[in-house]
């Protein structure tokens, strides 16, 4: 799994060149308060990957980070260092909770050339990695940990350092294997949510469905509704939904895609409970409701950790392309009876609703006309509702997120984004890239739009016109300054 093909996003290979994408060198979490005295430094380390590293080296690396952070704080007390650039690698620092530091060390991409005498020459590409992308990845690591484990502080309160270490080990041991650093890009910065486009009536039907389900299952605290891996409704607050969405779309759904694609008669499907009335099934929790021994264990998630701090069971139930997440207070014991009841109530209605949505979606698609492959690709992001739309990215898979454009262009997008971050005002940046490519970045209020055009011999005015046209057609119902 971890051996994802090298250079997945690295384009054509030169005859004598070998490219190696960025890779995770180490990842550690420490708290300087836990070993302030000499000789006790090891106590600071709460998690270290790779674990095989010799103890003293671990201590040295942690100490170095501590020193850098401490040192840079002198210059900027409110904003300590976020990253450290070296020739071979880049280190990213994050303090998600007071005195808890997470550090991720990423090796720069490498180009290996054959010298004339046949010896390989290794060349580190120091400027390739974008700080914002990998800082975001690091922040996401914490968010994902917190979603399933709660805060570091909570673990400390519950069972001291021992429990915290156990939880970190258990979580990150697996999670770090799923980081695909070679395919991180602008979308990781946004951490956005793709919303499913829907007409008002169908949306209201879904509302009505959710309200009814919450009423009949009366213990449900929050509900989220997705279709085609895109969000339609979230009862959770935005930040919690953002990370749950990430989990669902990059981890849970892809894992369950295979049985769905498998035909009715395939052995995978045969294992699923035979139900002729509806297509509903649990993605978390019991696999077979007819099995009296089936375990009703659901993943637990932690939300609203800043104030109410709620621990919830996460039930994900799916029928065709429609998925509902029911979140129930973790103190309530969920029984097989409850699961059966949920299945019998939700299953049939969700099946009908899913086909309704599908039908409506096809009607809308037909009405909007046959979409020809446009000359441009774009990424849109709105900071206000985290809405994200990309025609650059292919369908997400559990291993890599495939893009349809050259990595160099992706890097330009990242650079434009960094520029936007620096100023508050609306602005527009137009970049002429290689081989007839133009990259345009626009920022209006809280929205960002990145367009990649490929037009032979186009000039600046023409490109500007094209982007205006794009805004007029794709974003005519929002206030987007041109």
């Amino acid at each position: 799994m971890a051996a994802a093909t090298a250079g997945a996003g690295a384009g054509a290979w030169a005859a004598q060149e070998k490219q190696f994408p960025p890779a995770l060198l180490s990842f550690f979490i420490y708290n300087p308060r836990f070993g302030p005295r000499e000789g006790e430094e090891e106590n600071k380390i709460l998690f270290y990957h790779p674990n095989e590293v010799e103890k003293n080296e671990k201590i040295r690396n942690v100490g170095l980070c501590e020193a850098i952070v401490q040192f840079t704080r002198t210059f900027s007390p409110s904003k300590p260092a976020k990253s450290l650039h070296t020739q071979k690698n880049r280190q990213f620092f994050n303090e998600p909770e007071e005195n808890f530091w997470m550090v991720m060390v990423v090796r720069n991409p490498i180009i290996e050339k054959q010298s004339k005498d046949g010896k390989p020459i290794v060349e580190y590409q120091e400027e390739e990695l974008l700080d914002k992308v990998y800082s975001s990845v690091l922040q996401q690591c914490y968010s994902m940990y917190k979603l399933f484990n709660g805060t570091f502080l909570k673990a400390m309160e519950d069972g001291g350092v021992k429990l915290l270490k156990e939880r970190l080990e258990k979580f990150f041991h697996r999670y770090l294997q799923t980081l695909h650093l070679q395919s991180c890009d602008l979308l990781d910065i946004f951490g956005g949510i793709s919303f499913f486009p829907l007409d008002k009536m169908t949306y209201l039907k879904i509302q009505s469905f959710i309200n009814r389900m919450e009423e009949s299952l009366n213990i449900v605290k929050y509900t989220a509704f997705l279709y085609n891996d895109q969000l339609i409704w979230s009862g959770l607050e935005q930040d919690d939904m953002r990370i749950l969405y990430k989990y669902l779309t990059t981890s849970l759904f892809p894992r369950h895609i295979e049985p769905e694609l498998a035909g009715r008669d395939s052995p995978i499907r045969a294992e699923m409970p035979g139900n002729l009335q509806h297509y509903g099934r649990f993605l978390t929790g019991p696999l077979n409701l007819n099995d009296p021994e089936a375990k009703c264990r659901f993943p637990k998630i932690f939300v609203n950790t800043d104030d109410t701090y709620e621990e919830l069971h996460l039930i994900v139930y799916k029928a065709m392309s429609a998925a509902v997440c029911f979140m129930i207070d973790a103190s309530i014991q969920l029984t097989l009876d409850f699961c059966r009841r949920l299945d019998s109530i939700v299953g049939p209605q969700l099946t009908v609703l899913a086909s309704d949505i599908c039908e409506q979606f096809n009607i809308n698609k037909r009405m909007s006309g046959s979409e020809k492959e446009p000359q441009f690709k774009f990424i849109y992001f709105n900071h206000m509702n985290l809405a994200e739309k990309s025609t650059i990215h292919m369908r997400k898979t559990p291993s890599v997120s495939l893009t349809s454009v050259h990595p160099d262009l992706m890097k330009i997008l990242g650079d434009i984004n960094s520029d936007f971050t620096r100023v508050d005002e609306d602005e527009e940046i137009i970049v002429k890239a290689m081989s007839d490519y133009w990259v345009v970045g626009k920022k209006s209020d809280q929205r960002e739009l990145y367009v990649i055009l490929n037009q032979k011999n186009a000039n600046l005015i023409e490109v500007n016109e094209e982007v205006k046209k794009l805004c007029a057609t794709q974003f005519n119902n929002i206030f987007f300054l041109d």
């Binding site: 008002k200 949306y203 209201l204 009505s208 309200n211 935005q238 709105n382 206030f479």
Partner: protein
Amino acid sequence: MSEEDYYLELCERPVQFEKANPVNCVFFDEANKQVFAVRSGGATGVVVKGPDDRNPISFRMDDKGEVKCIKFSLENKILAVQRTSKTVDFCNFIPDNSQLEYTQECKTKNANILGFCWTSSTEIVFITDQGIEFYQVLPEKRTLKLLKSHNINVNWYMYCPESAVILLSTTVLENVLQPFYFRAGTMSKLPKFEIELPAAPKSTKLSLSERDIAMATIYGQLYVLFLRHHSRTSNSTGAEVVLYHLPREGACKKMHILKLNRTGKFALNVVDNLVVVHHQDTETSVIFDIKLRGEFDGTVTFHHPVLPARSIQPYQIPMAGPAAVTSQSPVPCKLYSSSWIVFQPDIIISASQGYLWNLQVKLEPIVKLLPDKGRLMDFLLQRKECKMVILSVCSQMLSEADRATLPVIATVFDKLNHEYKKYLDAEQSYTAAAEAGQSRSNPLLKRLVRTQAVLDQSDVYTHVLSPFVEKKEMPHKFVIAVLMEYIRSLNQFQIAVQHYLHELVIKTLVQHNLFYTLHQFLQYHVLSDSKPLACLLLSLESFYPPAHQLSLDMLKRLSTANDEIVEVLLSKHQVLAALRFIRGIGGHDNISARKFLDAAKQTEDNMLFYTIFRFFEQRNQRLRGSPNFTPGEHCEEHVAFFKQVFGDQALMRPTTF
């Protein structure tokens, strides 16, 4: 049984008349709904009382023999009295016309007059045992003119004044009925039809009795109601009422069967389009609604009583007259008495007690007796006086104590909005036709009638949703679910949702800090765009910053709110953005320079001020050939400020030609 359990009642103010006795004969005219009390053949007085007029008509007439039938023509113009089996006497009640009686003998020889019916103020029909004769009365000439007649053997007849149809019973079994329809001096014969009599042993000869037939208009259609004491087909022993639909054109058709599930003596009334069947043996009544879903067997629909059988609400006869002593308590009236006579549609007369009542349906008790809310709504929506009851049902189903489930609430809303939409559509086509000037020329265009069943958004908002939202004890999840359900229902029927409903949703969400929910609703345009809504969102910005963006988006979509967009941007000191926006829509030639310069100056950003100032200089140049501001623009202070900061030489120089 408390008063709340009776769903039928006698009207509070009955028509009171002198009891029937050997010297006082009482007659009832179904056309004018008048009771005639004729003392000593009229010699000692005739008193006529109708349901509406509280002032009775009294007069005297000579006693010329026993009165068999007495009726006023419509509008009380002419009085007709039948005293013999061959003749009818007339007397004008029109001012300036002679009040001398005149007489008309039936034309057919050897025929006996069974009775007569007025079909207008001057048209009368004699029904004889050998046919019918249709006359016009000429009161000023004191004669009658035969308009039309038809020969047919008649056993008995029945008249429905509302639809001006007379039904004649013919043949030996009396079960072939011949309807005639009267309108403006014409008499038309409708297709005759046969009432299916119950199968009976050959020895007993069953014939159709007049008592078992009634005619009434139900939901605008004329029906002949036949009380069949024994079911023809099924082996169930209960009696049933068979409804034959009698259309203006085409043949009469058996449509509905009302299952009574009991036997004995029955009487029928029709109240508010409901068929009421009184059962004397049990002293109870049941009601049927033919619009409610029944069991359809391919030809007829079978109906069961809407509600369990109940007695008419007990009635106290007030001790009338000045002689009554105050201590005397009212006397309970004997209900379902054998002396009761029932007339269509809703009249019950007790000749022995001297009362005429209208039967009424009480809707409030029905709410409790019909637990199925969907069926209850179907029932209530067809009733005349339903509005307040329906609103109270809606309020009740949202109350803590009797809270209904969301699917039930959804059903109720859907039924309300179905009626509402029907009315809106009718209104639209009416307006369209009226605009096209067809209202007078097109007689098919029905006048627009808004019944009480039309409950619009304002009704539901004022009486149901607004008080409901105010209730503190309601869980907000339920409140929002209900509001969304109502909005969903309106949308489903393609009814434009009024902004006050959206405001109610927003208010509730804001009260509970559910801004993200609000955001999602707006994102999917569940809350329709409007200027008031956009302004409301603007006001929420301090609690929820994204409201600003949502509001601007909405103003943009409205496309009629460009001025507002500029104001919003200027208030946020986004002067350049405002200018770019107004230029983008081509309105930059008409904006006030002073307004933008003011805003730019407030930002204390000199470069911004420079840019804005320069823009307007260029505009001046383009529009007027000079970069200078005109006195009317009131920009003197800004020009001075510009000079002070950037110097005189920075001003744009006029280009000369």
